[in-house]
Subunit: 177 residues, 2 copies
Amino acid sequence: MMEDKIHKEVRDSFYSYLKEKHDTDKGRRKTEERDTILDEICNFKGHFDINMLQSKLNNTRFHVSKATLYNTLNVLIDAGLIVRHHFDAGSIAHRPHSPSIPVMYELRRKADTHLHFICTQCHSIQEVKNPPFLKEHISALKNRFAPDYFSSCVYGTCKRCKNRVQKEVQENNRTIT
Amino acid sequence: MMEDKIHKEVRDSFYSYLKEKHDTDKGRRKTEERDTILDEICNFKGHFDINMLQSKLNNTRFHVSKATLYNTLNVLIDAGLIVRHHFDAGSIAHRPHSPSIPVMYELRRKADTHLHFICTQCHSIQEVKNPPFLKEHISALKNRFAPDYFSSCVYGTCKRCKNRVQKEVQENNRTIT
DNA sequence: TTTACTGCAAATATTTTGCAATATC
DNA sequence: GATATTGCAAAATATTTGCAGTAAA
């Protein structure tokens, strides 16, 4: 129910954007691809990367190319509907040809409400409600800057990984003594 | 003066890290490359990317390869001495083969003190002092997560770009009427 | 003397771009 | 009918990796 409301609002917002762009700039067009992509994006509960998006689309509906996906994601960012996050993978972690966690996207409506806790061990991401003072602090700077959206990451070790490491240390001590 | 003090503290901190790693893990080594790289990093006032670092090194001292640079930067992150930032370039900005602003690094000591304001028009980065309660808020979550460092970005339009756009609109209106 | 580090070049992954065909306005 | 969008493949970029030589412990 609630989800559908957000869904509708997002779609409406996209259409207003298209209309506005049409009047001012050189115009953006409404296509079935863009509609479908935005629909699927709304169905994600949390963050998603471009591959998750593509496989979701290809499973349920028609094929969309990577080029179109990249293009559409940029259009949606321009429309202020989604946000791009570059989460870092930490230091010398398991790195199979990639330095960082794949670039992630998120519905802006959702992103506005939280910060991210990223575990540098297992790369899990926890959402943490915004600190109450954050909004005021950001809007207090309006004379220097017109803030739009944000992406905040706190890096550290999640509870599970911390426990795991502790256990491993204990195991080692046991075998030594 | 003040700078030299930080410089010294950072170097000492690196040496303690090397020592500790030597005792526990398989050991990290102190090399002239790493020493020199850390020195040059301390000389940056703000953020830097890998190319800035390399040219600075090559100008003043000996040649260091990219492979070594990448390796050393990861070691320094593991040591908790520097932080990696992935600033985003915004939507469909000027994109000459790159989606985002080159990955930037910063001395952790400095990074701990501020958030970043990134202009999605001109990609300038302004530093903004941490909100007063940020630290407390983060450490209040210690039972869920062991926080280590953070990277926070607020995106929007900087004053200069806002003014520029306004001016352009006015110019347009003038030519029309 | 062991093995971590360096540098080069090759491999990999991600994103952008050029172009022809198509669809939207 | 003009031109924005799509999809494919090719190009560009950034980072990692394999390996041989070197140097720190």
